[in-house]
């Protein structure tokens, strides 16, 4: 019964957090900019050298999802966490029988729901534009083109959106972890962005360590590769949508989802360890 009550409390906090986040001007502005950018990909295509039109639009859309999604994930999570602390509403909430873990989990889920809406909207807009351009392309080529199947695999666009959402989950959990010991908004945002860069590029260090001789340096680089999650794993845009021969196996997608889930839970629990000791 208490577990059910706990879930209810988490759901309520998540729902309120989500509504609060959706009403934020920052979210709406970023969403509009992202949609406008994805929609304008056909304009930017004139600057392209050698990539196919549909491939370019896909790359552009995936880029927008990654870039604006990462910004939103970090800033929204930070704002939603610190709003409660700065407005003292966290005090009221935690004075009631709400555990700090439930508070953190609710905040995380609210932010993660926001990212789900963002990822879904961008993915839908991208799919719409791809569909429009694909239709135009087929109309232009007419019967001269022999097709083995559709030009675009729309399911893959959503697979990419889903995996980015999983990655945003890790990023939001990392942001919560940083926020749990930080005193200011700005510090949390900056540190989280640095962590994002490290997570995105740590694979290069790992590749380098495999070529190193045994020693302290190798040990340190190996440690770095283990401490930070590998975000490059989610950078799978090149293997999706068009390349049928190299299509990403379902087991890999599932592995990535599980990997993301484990790290998300781990960072929320670590945030809880810090937040438990924190005086609000």
């Amino acid at each position: 019964m208490s577990l059910l009550n706990s879930f209810t409390r988490i759901r309520l906090i998540a729902g309120t957090t989500f509504l609060e986040a959706v009403r934020q001007k920052f979210f709406n502005s970023l969403l509009i900019i992202s949609i406008a950018l994805v929609a304008s990909s056909t304009f930017f295509q004139q600057f392209d050298f050698g990539t196919g039109e549909l491939k370019f639009i896909t790359d552009f859309g995936f880029g927008a999802l990654f870039f604006f999604g990462s910004i939103l994930s970090i800033t929204a999570t930070t704002q939603l966490f610190f709003n409660e602390i700065e407005n003292r509403t966290a005090l009221t909430m935690l004075a009631k029988p709400v555990y700090k873990l439930e508070f953190l989990a609710g905040k995380f889920l609210g932010a993660h729901l926001l990212m789900l809406s963002f990822s879904l909207v961008i993915t839908l807009v991208l799919s719409g534009i791809l569909y429009w351009r694909e239709a135009a392309l087929l109309a232009r080529l007419g019967e001269d083109v022999l097709l083995d199947g559709p030009l675009v695999r729309y399911g893959d666009v959503f697979v990419f959106g889903f995996l980015q959402w999983i990655k945003f989950g890790i990023l939001a959990a990392i942001t919560l972890f940083v926020a749990s010991f930080s005193n200011t908004n700005l510090y949390t945002i900056i540190v989280s962005f640095f962590v994002l860069i490290i997570c995105q590029l740590q694979y290069i260090a790992r590749d380098a360590y495999s070529g190193m001789e045994a020693g302290l340096e190798r040990f340190l680089v190996m440690g770095l590769g283990l401490i930070f999650p590998n975000f490059q794993l989610f950078n799978i845009g090149d293997q999706l949508v068009f390349d049928v021969e190299q299509a990403l196996p379902l087991t890999t997608v599932l592995r990535l989802a599980v990997y993301g889930l484990i790290y998300t839970c781990a960072f929320i629990l670590l945030a809880q360890v810090n937040f438990r000791r924190r005086e609000i």
Partner: protein, 291 residues
């Protein structure tokens, strides 16, 4: 208060505990991550430390992180052209490397980058040293070889991505032929190009011509006869030209009439659908570069 209870020690121990937990987590997730990473990495372009430094130096954090790599590479290519117009060879080399690292997929970057390095930069360097009349021929050749080698290195990198792309083999052949005037090496690359699935028909014809240029008429004759037999009777295959050259070689080699090549009579076929624009000029040729 014992030393272990000192706030600094307590804080340090907390940090170390968290790092240890994350380290263990990294080890625990390895069985999930490693197979997934193997699959994902196989489909990703390589990004080395040098390229990242270059990209970060240009303020291209987003490109390095994975977003908008294609469009950033496109804009950088436009900038590369501005640098090319300014004849800044040091920056040009760095920019070509950066563009091809950011987005190695379009062959346009590799081919045009190598053309700039192999054909244009030697001219600039010779002019910097006083011009074609003042610089000794030996020095001019050394510059040509130096620049050609840099272009070959770039094309070799491209071949790692596209080992079957005839255009890249052709490009190496063209540099040997047009810049280094090395017919023997050029012939090797034209032959390699002609053996790729997407090879244009002219690659094999040029190879035969290069054999003739080297005085290897017998080899050229034998090769052209085989080529004529193997090629489909489509307009782009230009079998008429091949036959003309076979006849020229038969005259040069004084082949007796009864031993001369007899082409099979076959109807002219239509160009297969979806066939590459064989022998048609490339749509993306960089202005100012001779083929």
């Amino acid at each position: 208060m014992s030393v272990l209870q000192h706030p600094l020690i307590v804080r340090l121990s907390r940090v170390l505990t968290i790092l240890l937990i994350l380290l263990l987590l990294g080890l625990l997730t390895r069985p999930i991550e490693a197979p997934a990473w193997k699959v994902v990495k196989a489909g990703q372009p390589e990004m080395n430390l040098e390229a990242i430094e270059g990209a970060l130096g240009q303020g291209l954090v987003v490109g390095v992180l994975g977003g908008f790599r294609a469009i950033l590479a496109d804009f950088l290519w436009i900038r590369t052209n501005t640098i090319w117009e300014r004849r800044d060879r040091v920056k040009l080399d760095a920019m070509v490397r950066l563009v091809t690292t950011l987005d190695p997929r379009p062959d346009f970057f590799w081919i045009n980058g190598s053309r700039m390095i192999a054909y244009d930069v030697p001219n600039w360097r010779i002019r910097e040293e006083g011009g074609y009349d003042a610089v000794p021929k030996v020095r001019q050749q050394a510059i040509d070889y130096d620049q050609a080698q840099q272009a070959f290195d770039l094309l070799d990198e491209a071949l790692e991505f596209y080992p079957d792309k005839a255009k890249l083999y052709l490009e190496k052949g063209q540099i040997y032929l047009n810049r280094l005037k090395d017919d023997a090496r050029a012939a090797e690359w034209f032959l390699a190009a002609s053996q790729q699935a997407d090879a244009p028909y002219y690659a094999a014809r040029i190879y035969a011509e290069l054999l003739r240029k080297q005085g290897l008429d017998t080899e050229a004759y034998s090769y052209l006869k085989d080529l004529h037999r193997e090629l489909p009777n489509v307009p782009y295959a230009q079998k008429g030209i091949i036959l003309e050259r076979i006849r020229e070689l038969e005259n040069a080699l004084k082949i007796p009439f009864w031993q001369r090549f007899q082409p099979a009579v076959e109807p002219m076929l239509e160009e297969p659908r979806g066939a590459p624009a064989f022998d048609a000029p490339e749509p993306h040729d960089h202005a100012g570069h001779a083929h």
